[in-house]
Every structure is written in structure tokens, then in C-alpha cells.
């Protein structure tokens, strides 16, 4: 039972990180109709910028807090310089241009921070375990990720459901031409949404950094998972991204924690332990395919 709880928490922690990344992606895709492959680069930049600020301030929390406005600014600049020119183009042009951005950011990081990658230490006050139940310890840093992720998810839900900006975002996701016709400054809205997405990606990147280390291309692999999540959840839907991210988090943990033992019931031990990682890697794609057959617009998709 304790074991199950630990694994569920691990899945939640992973899911929340993925949600932060997917939220920005689903907004830019849903509202601006922009396929932004460079979203993973913002995740990476968030981690590198945080690493720099943590070095300057000698405090993880302070460094992280400074990195958030910095990634917002970076997002705004990327939107104004590059992304803005792509909204009217077709998806292929967008893919080409934002792929170019990935190469640009990877090279930029190589020039500024060097090729070797950086390690960001877990802050001292979180470098211990907390007892979530008596006798069931859990790493404090991971628990902090869950708390921060949950708070941000609630804030985002409030922003989208209860504020004027959120209303415009929702309106933009369902019919962006109409809100332009109604006199909303759509350029400003797009810039804000893009910047917001960059902040979430940067937050995910800097929180993942102590677990996975800061390195060039760290956002490229995880971006594919983020796309899977927004496709499962339905493009443009924050609620969908949240549900799908939780689902993907749990699937990943099930694949790592329970699949090997399950396979061992009918395969040899050696075959099971080498097959399990391979199967768990494709499991999310199988689920995605299943969801698309059942609901072609995703779980909470609006558009046909």
C-alpha cells in the first residue's frame, strides 16, 4: 500500500512537470494555431537562466524567482521577432522556422554556457525526506515540485476561468477571428499568451533541472511527450492538458514500476527486464492512438 502511494506520487510529480510544459504548448497551438517546436528550447533556457541566477544569488528560490520574469521576457522577444511572422503561414513553414529556433538556441547555449552542461543542486532545505504517512518517507524536493505544480495549475485554472484575460484566451481558442473583429488587441493578447507559455516552460525546466541536470537539448525529448499530451487532451484545452499530463505521468510510472513484474509472470526474467523499458516507452503512444480512434479531437478537444 505504501509502495503504491509512493509510485502514484511519483506519477503525479512527473505529470505536473509535464503539465507545465504542455500548458503553454496547448495555448499557442490552440489560440495562435502555431506549431511551436521551440517550446522545448524555452524549457531549456529556463533551466540555464535559473542556473545562472542561482549562481549569482546563492539561493535556489531567489534564482528561480528571478528566472521566471527573464523567461517571460525571452518568450515575448521570441514572439515579436519570430513567432508573430508565422501565424498566417501554414504548419510546414512553422515547423521549419521553429525547428530553426531549436538549432539557434542549442548553439546559443553552447556559446554562452559551454558544451559540458551544468548541474543545479537541490536547495539545502529540501535536500531531505518528508514523511507523507508515518513511516513512508518521500524526497522533499519532489514533494515541493508537486506543491508548486499544483498551485500553478490552480492559478492557471483561475486565470482561464475567472479573469478577463482568461475569457479572451478561451474566446481565442474557439474563434480567433471573431475576437479580432470585436476589437480586442489580438497582437497584444498573442504576445502575452506566448510569454505566459514561456514562463510555464521555464518553470518546468528549472524544477526538473536538479533531477535531470541542465544540458543542451534537454527540452527536445520531453517536447515530444508534451505534444502527445496536448493531442490526447485536445488542442487548446488547459483542462485536457492537465488530465492528459496526469495520465501520461501515471503510464510512465506503471511502465517502470509494474510492467517488469507483470512481464515476468509469463516471460523469462532476463527477457522481461530488457523488454519492459522498451514497452513502457511506446505505451504512451499506444494510449494516444487509442484516444484518437475513440475521440479524434482528443479528450476535451473543441474543434472538429
Amino acid at each position: 500500500m505504501d509502495y503504491l502511494l509512493l509510485q502514484v506520487l511519483n506519477g503525479v510529480q512527473l505529470g505536473l512537470l509535464m503539465f507545465l510544459l504542455a500548458a503553454g504548448l496547448t495555448l499557442t497551438f490552440g489560440i495562435m494555431d502555431l506549431v511551436n517546436l521551440a517550446h522545448g528550447s524555452l524549457y531549456m533556457m529556463g533551466a540555464y537562466i535559473a542556473w545562472t541566477f542561482v549562481g549569482w544569488t546563492d539561493s535556489f528560490v531567489l534564482g528561480a524567482l528571478l528566472a521566471l520574469p527573464a523567461t517571460f521576457l525571452l518568450g515575448v522577444v521570441v514572439e515579436m521577432v519570430v513567432a508573430r511572422r508565422l501565424y498566417a503561414r501554414d504548419h510546414l513553414d512553422q515547423v521549419l522556422a521553429t525547428f530553426g529556433l531549436i538549432l539557434f538556441f542549442n548553439e546559443l547555449v553552447r556559446v554562452i554556457w559551454g558544451p559540458a552542461g551544468k548541474s543545479l543542486a537541490v536547495p539545502a532545505f529540501l535536500n531531505r525526506t518528508v514523511e507523507i504517512l508515518p513511516g513512508v518517507p518521500y524526497p522533499a524536493y519532489r514533494f515541493a515540485i508537486i506543491v508548486v505544480g499544483a498551485v500553478v495549475a490552480v492559478l492557471l485554472a483561475w486565470l482561464v476561468a475567472r479573469t478577463r484575460l482568461g475569457m479572451l484566451i478561451r474566446a481565442g481558442a474557439s474563434n480567433r477571428r471573431m475576437i479580432g473583429a470585436l476589437g480586442v488587441d489580438i497582437e497584444l493578447l498573442f504576445t502575452l499568451v506566448f510569454g505566459l507559455g514561456a514562463v510555464f516552460a521555464g518553470l518546468a525546466g528549472l524544477m526538473a533541472a536538479p533531477i535531470t541536470s541542465v544540458k543542451i537539448g534537454m527540452g527536445d525529448d520531453i517536447l515530444i511527450l508534451a505534444f502527445v499530451i496536448i493531442v490526447i487532451g485536445g488542442i487548446g484545452s488547459i483542462k485536457g492538458a492537465f488530465v492528459a499530463a496526469m495520465l501520461v505521468g501515471q503510464i510512465d510510472i506503471v511502465g517502470r514500476a509494474f510492467l517488469p513484474d507483470f512481464l515476468k509472470t509469463f516471460l523469462s526474467s532476463a527477457a522481461a527486464s530488457s523488454a519492459a523499458p522498451a514497452i513502457s516507452q511506446v505505451l504512451v503512444y499506444v494510449v494516444m492512438a487509442g484516444v484518437l480512434v475513440w475521440r479524434p479531437t482528443g479528450l476535451f478537444g473543441q474543434r472538429a
Binding site: 509502495y3 509512493l6 559540458a116 548541474s119 531531505r128 525526506t129 518517507p137 541536470s213 544540458k215 523499458p277
Partner: protein, 392 residues
């Protein structure tokens, strides 16, 4: 007109000028390692050791200058293969050395040894395939076969009160060999076993929770470089340190210790080379390396140093004439050089027959984290695959 004349004169001068130089063209050695990304620290340690070897040799082998061409495999098999191809076909090197990763080496092997008919000296990776059926007359190792180091660790654990083990490694060629190796000599219960996604997975939360539930007497891991740092950190964060002891191969070394610090203290590992082995050449290597860089060299570096010294021994014996590959191979096979681990002989598959030691992560008198030899685990060990190698 004058321009043309000048051009012709330059070409002539170059042509004549090059004539004597051709006779003593430098010996070229290609060196493949990882110089970018999170594992770049390993490549840097190897490069420093190769440069130290060059310095100790006075920049010459049998009076001939030699140059090292470093290439970055970016920790990717396809890039490693392509860089190997470049070294062999474009640079026309006499030897290709280096290779940290078994999957990179396996991808590059044929390109160098068969298509290029060039001699490859592995400074680290030792996949079981190359020790067995894929063994090659153009392949030499100055390291070990992957199974051997964990076999030494398993033999040590067999003698201790460890009844059950939980095994973890990256899911790639070397990881599979490592787990196969420890199972050859450790006869207790294997309570669980995880091969994790390699190299992407750096989050071990799910596996650590499984270990907590399985309650083994010990955990055995193979996580080189940056992965070893992450594993130790997360193992401590999960509260397992002090509850379930950790035993490792290639996961705690001179490169990772500055980051692992006290977390590594007291952890046992196995290795064929340790910085405190008391032979003269090793004392000199470690002292000079520390003087130059202020840190301890790692086994990766020691093996890379040996690769260069092995090449030098063949060049000296042949008085610098490397034109006959048969003669070069015959000289290499003698392993007639002062290895940092002490003398060794080559087996039929051209992997070393050597000792393995148990080492402990300790703090030295100056408070620096380092590794200390505590026992000899096995003597004159041969890898378990050499009988499958057709070469006799």
C-alpha cells in the same frame, strides 16, 4: 603574370619542401570520446591523460613526431561512427583510440577495423560481442571486457554477508553485460532487476520506491558519469542511504566524486586500476596529473594513457616504421610497456588478462574525496567470452 609565376614557385617549393617531411610524417592517432553534453567531463579527463602521455614521451615515438586528432562522439552511436569514418578516410590515421561507450564502439567497429583496415585501441568500452564472436585482429583493448569488473564485485559480495541484491543499470550494451557479469559470480538471490532507459532517464524515483519495497541486502548499480551523480543524490534523497548499502561499478570515480562528495563515502566498488596502485609509472602519472590539473585522474584517463603508451611500445620496437600492419599487430600483442595498472598479457581475443581490485570511496588526509584500494578481488582474470573468439 608575376602572380602566376609566384604561384608556380610556391607549388614547387612546397613540393620539394614536403619531400623530406613525408619520410617522417607524424604518426597520426585519432581519439574518439565525448567532449560535449553532460558526459563531457569524462572526455576531458581522457584528453588530459593523453596529453600527459604525449608529454612523458617528449612528443615523439621512436624519434617520429605524433599528433592526436580528437573527435567528439556527442554520446551518440551514429555520430561516433561518422567521426570514426572521418578519422580513417579523411585524416588517414594510423590508429583510432578512445571510445567510452559500448554502443558507440559497436557502431564504429567495422568502419575502422574492416572497411578502413585500421587498428582500433579501445580505451574504455569492452562489449561482450567484441570479446567473443566479433573479435577482430585489428582490435585491442587497454581496459577490460564489460563483464569482468562486475564479476570482481560479485565475487567480493559472495564472500560477505550479502544474501540478496537488487540490480540496476542503463538499458544498453554495457548495462546488459554488467548485470550478466555480476550474476556470474554472485550466487545469492537477485531480488529485483531494472534496466532503465539509456541515456534519457535520469529520474530513478520509481525504481528507488521498488527497492524500498523489495528490501534487499544491497543495491548493485552501473551508472557511469553524470548518471552516477544523479543516482547517488536520489538514493540519498529517498532516505535509502544508511538503510540499504550500495555497491557499484563505474558509478563513483575521480570525475564524479567532486559532485558526489560525502554521499559516496564508504561505498565499495571494483576496478582494474586505482590511483594508489604502488608501481612507479602510476605514481608519476598521478602526481604529474594532480600537479597540472589539481584533481585526481580517473580510470578512464589511466586507460587512455595506457592506449598511447601501448602504441608507443609498438612504434619503438619497429623503429618508427609502421608500414607493415602485421608487424604492428604482432608488437601490440606483446603488451610490452609499463601499464599504469602494472604489467598485463593479452588474451587470444586481445583483451588484457589482469587483476581487479576492490576500492572504497574515502577522504584523504587533505580532506579530498578519493578512492583507496582495500583488497585484490581477482588475479589474472580472463573474460568469459574469449573461447568464442575464432582467433587463437
Amino acid at each position: 603574370m608575376t602572380y602566376r609565376l609566384f604561384g608556380a614557385a610556391t607549388i614547387a617549393a612546397l613540393a620539394f619542401g614536403l619531400q623530406p617531411a613525408m619520410a617522417q610524417a607524424p604518426i597520426k592517432i585519432g581519439f574518439i570520446s565525448t567532449f560535449s553534453g553532460p558526459q563531457a567531463a569524462i572526455g576531458e579527463d581522457m584528453r588530459r591523460s593523453v596529453e600527459l602521455a604525449k608529454e612523458h614521451l617528449g612528443g615523439k615515438m621512436a624519434g617520429r613526431a605524433f599528433e592526436i586528432i580528437y573527435e567528439d562522439d556527442q554520446f551518440k552511436p551514429d555520430v561516433g561512427k561518422q567521426r570514426s569514418e572521418k578519422l580513417v578516410q579523411q585524416d588517414k590515421v594510423n590508429f583510432v583510440a578512445g571510445y567510452i561507450w559500448s554502443n558507440v564502439l559497436l557502431a564504429s567497429l567495422k568502419t575502422v577495423t574492416d572497411e578502413g583496415d585500421t587498428i582500433l585501441i579501445s580505451s574504455n568500452a569492452g562489449p561482450s560481442q567484441i570479446a567473443g564472436e566479433l573479435c577482430n585482429k585489428n582490435f585491442f583493448s587497454t581496459s577490460w571486457q564489460n563483464d569482468q569488473t562486475p564479476m570482481a564485485m560479485g565475487a567480493y559480495l559472495q564472500g560477505k554477508a550479502v544474501k540478496s541484491l537488487y540490480l540496476m543499470a542503463g538499458n544498453y550494451a554495457a548495462g546488459k553485460d554488467m548485470l550478466a557479469g555480476v550474476k556470474r559470480t554472485f550466487k545469492g538471490q537477485i531480488i529485483g532487476e531494472d534496466l532503465t532507459k539509456w541515456p534519457d532517464q535520469l529520474d530513478f524515483s520509481a525504481e528507488l520506491a521498488k527497492i524500498r519495497a523489495a528490501k534487499p541486502d544491497g543495491i548493485f548499480i552501473f551508472y557511469p558519469g553524470a548518471h552516477g551523480v544523479q543516482f547517488l543524490t536520489q538514493y540519498a534523497q529517498a532516505g535509502l542511504k544508511g538503510q540499504i548499502p550500495l555497491y557499484q561499478v563505474f558509478s563513483i570515480d575521480a570525475i564524479t566524486l567532486p559532485q558526489q562528495k560525502e554521499l559516496a563515502l564508504g561505498t565499495m566498488g571494483a576496478q582494474e586500476w586505482v590511483n594508489d596502485l604502488p608501481n612507479d609509472q602510476n605514481k608519476r602519472f598521478v602526481a604529474d596529473f594532480r600537479k597540472k590539473h589539481g584533481v585526481f585522474p580517473s580510470f578512464y584517463g589511466a586507460q587512455s594513457y595506457d592506449s598511447i603508451m601501448l602504441i608507443a611500445s609498438a612504434a619503438e620496437a619497429l623503429k618508427g616504421d609502421l608500414s607493415s600492419k602485421d608487424k604492428v599487430r604482432a608488437e601490440l600483442k606483446k603488451a610490452n610497456f609499463k601499464s599504469l595498472r602494472g604489467d598485463f598479457k593479452y588474451n587470444t581475443n586481445q583483451f588484457p588478462i589482469q587483476n581487479f581490485y576492490i576500492q572504497e570511496a574515502v577522504k584523504d588526509a587533505e580532506g579530498t574525496m578519493t578512492l583507496k584500494t582495500v583488497a585484490t578481488a581477482v588475479k589474472d582474470a580472463k573474460d568469459p567470452y574469449y573461447e568464442k573468439c575464432p582467433m587463437k
